[in-house]
Amino acid sequence: MSTERETRRVVRSWLEEGVTALPDRVLDAVLDQVPATSQRRPLWPVRRIAEMSIYARLASVAAVVIVLVVGVTVMAGGGVGGQATPSPSQPNGAAATETPPATGTPSQGALLPGEFTACVGRNEESKHGTDSQDRIGDLTVDRTRGYTWQGAIVATDPRFSGTHYYSWNGDSYTLQSGLPAQEVSAEGHRIENDAGAWQGSGYGVSFPDSTMQSALTVLVGEGAYDGLTALMFRTGGSCFFNFRGIVTDVPDTPVPYTGP
C-alpha cells in the first residue's frame, strides 16, 4: 500500500510532466480579440490614489485645486453666475448662515437653488472587506463585502464639505459559460463636518453590455442638518468621485392605488 508521503511524491512528480508553453496561435487569437472586447468598468472606485500613475495623481490634485479655487471664489464673490439664491431647505442656525450661494461650477453651468456639486479628489481604503464566491444554480456569484474608503470632500455647498466615508457591497454574477452577467451593488455614504453629518444609501446595477445605473442616494441630515434631506448621485468628472445633488424636501413615497 502506498503511504501518504509516497503518494504525494508520485503525484508531484507526475504533475511536473506535460506541456508548459502556450502555443503562439492561442496567444495571437486572444490578442486579436482584445480590441473588440470592451473592459468591464466597475461601479465602485477600484484603484486607490497610491496605485494611480503620477499623471493620474497630478490630475486628481489639480481637480481638487480647481474645486477649491472655484469654491473660494464663489464664497467670496457671491457666485460665478451672479446673485446668490437661498437653498430651499436651509436650517436655522450657524450652518444655514454659512451656506454659500448655490451656484454652479464652470463645467456644469448655473445650479438651481439648493443644488450642489461635490468632489472627492482622492480616497483611501480605511477598512478592508472580504471577497467570497458561491454558486446559485448555474451562476457563480462573487460577493464583496465591507470595503470602506474615506477622503476629503469639497462641495459648492459647504454643508457637504468635510470627510466622505463610502462603503460598498457588491455581487457579480457569472454565467455557466464563464461570461459575465449582471452586477448588483449597495453603497453607503456619510459626509461629516464640524456642524453635522449626512448619511444615506443607494443601489446600483450594471449589465454585461456595459449599461449601468448607479445609485441615487438619499442623504438624511444630522446635527445642524437635522430635519434636512438631500438627493445625490455620481456624475462624470475628473475627481475620484464627482457628485451632484440637491437639498430638498423629499415627498412621501406614494402607495399605488390598486382599486377599492
Binding site: T7, W14, T20, L27, V46, Q133, G178
Partner: protein, 182 residues
C-alpha cells in the same frame, strides 16, 4: 508581476495587456492542461481566461494580486470547459486494467497511467486544489483565496483528492500484485 503594467492594462492599454499575457500565458496554460488533462480543452480554457482577464481587469482592486486573481479566472474557465465536455461525453465507467506489472514495485509508466485514471475520476473542484497546491506550490490559504472558498473546504477537497489518487494507485496495482504472488 509589474504592478505598473497591470495598472496600465486596467486603464485599457492593450500593449500592456499583451505583455502581461505573454508573461503569464505559459503558466496559465500549464495549469489548465494539468486540471483538464486535454490539450484542446486546455487551450480553449486558457484563451477564455486571458480574455476574461482583459475584460475584468478594471475590477481588480489590488494590482499586486494580479497572478492569484488570474488563476481564479483560469479555474473558472476550466469549470466552463469541463461542463461543456461533460455535456457531450458518454457516461463511461472506467474498468480496472489487467496490465502486467513486474515485481512488487510500481513502475513509473504504471504510476502515470493509474494517476491519469484516478485524476480523471476527480471533479474539477478537486483537481484544481491538487494542481494549485502540488504543482504551483501554493499554500492552502492562498488556494482558498484564489478559489474563493473557505480553507476548510480546500483541506477537505485536497484530502479527498489525494485519498482518491492513493486508492487509484493501490487498487489498480492490487490485481497485478496478487497475480505476482500466485
Amino acid at each position: 508581476m509589474d504592478a505598473k503594467l497591470v495598472a496600465r492594462a486596467q486603464d485599457g492599454d492593450e500593449e500592456a495587456f499583451a505583455s502581461l499575457a505573454v508573461a503569464i500565458g505559459d503558466q496559465l496554460h500549464a495549469v489548465s492542461h494539468r486540471i483538464l488533462r486535454d490539450l484542446d480543452l486546455a487551450e480553449d480554457a486558457t484563451q477564455q481566461a486571458l480574455l476574461a482577464i482583459w475584460r475584468d481587469l478594471p475590477t481588480l482592486r489590488d494590482p499586486a494580486r494580479f497572478e492569484a486573481w488570474s488563476y481564479r479566472l483560469l479555474v473558472r474557465a476550466c469549470y466552463a470547459e469541463g461542463r461543456r465536455t461533460r455535456r457531450w461525453a458518454p457516461n463511461l465507467r472506467l474498468l480496472p486494467t489487467d496490465e502486467p506489472v513486474a515485481g512488487e514495485g510500481l513502475s513509473l509508466v504504471h504510476d502515470r497511467d493509474q494517476l491519469e485514471r484516478g485524476f480523471r475520476r476527480l471533479s474539477i473542484d478537486h483537481r484544481a486544489v491538487v494542481v494549485l497546491h502540488h504543482y504551483l506550490d501554493m499554500p492552502l490559504q492562498s488556494v482558498a483565496e484564489t478559489l474563493g472558498v473557505p480553507i476548510g473546504t480546500v483541506r477537505s477537497r485536497l484530502h479527498y483528492a489525494m485519498r482518491g489518487l492513493r486508492a487509484a494507485l493501490d487498487a489498480d496495482a492490487r490485481p497485478a500484485r496478487q497475480e505476482a504472488i500466485r
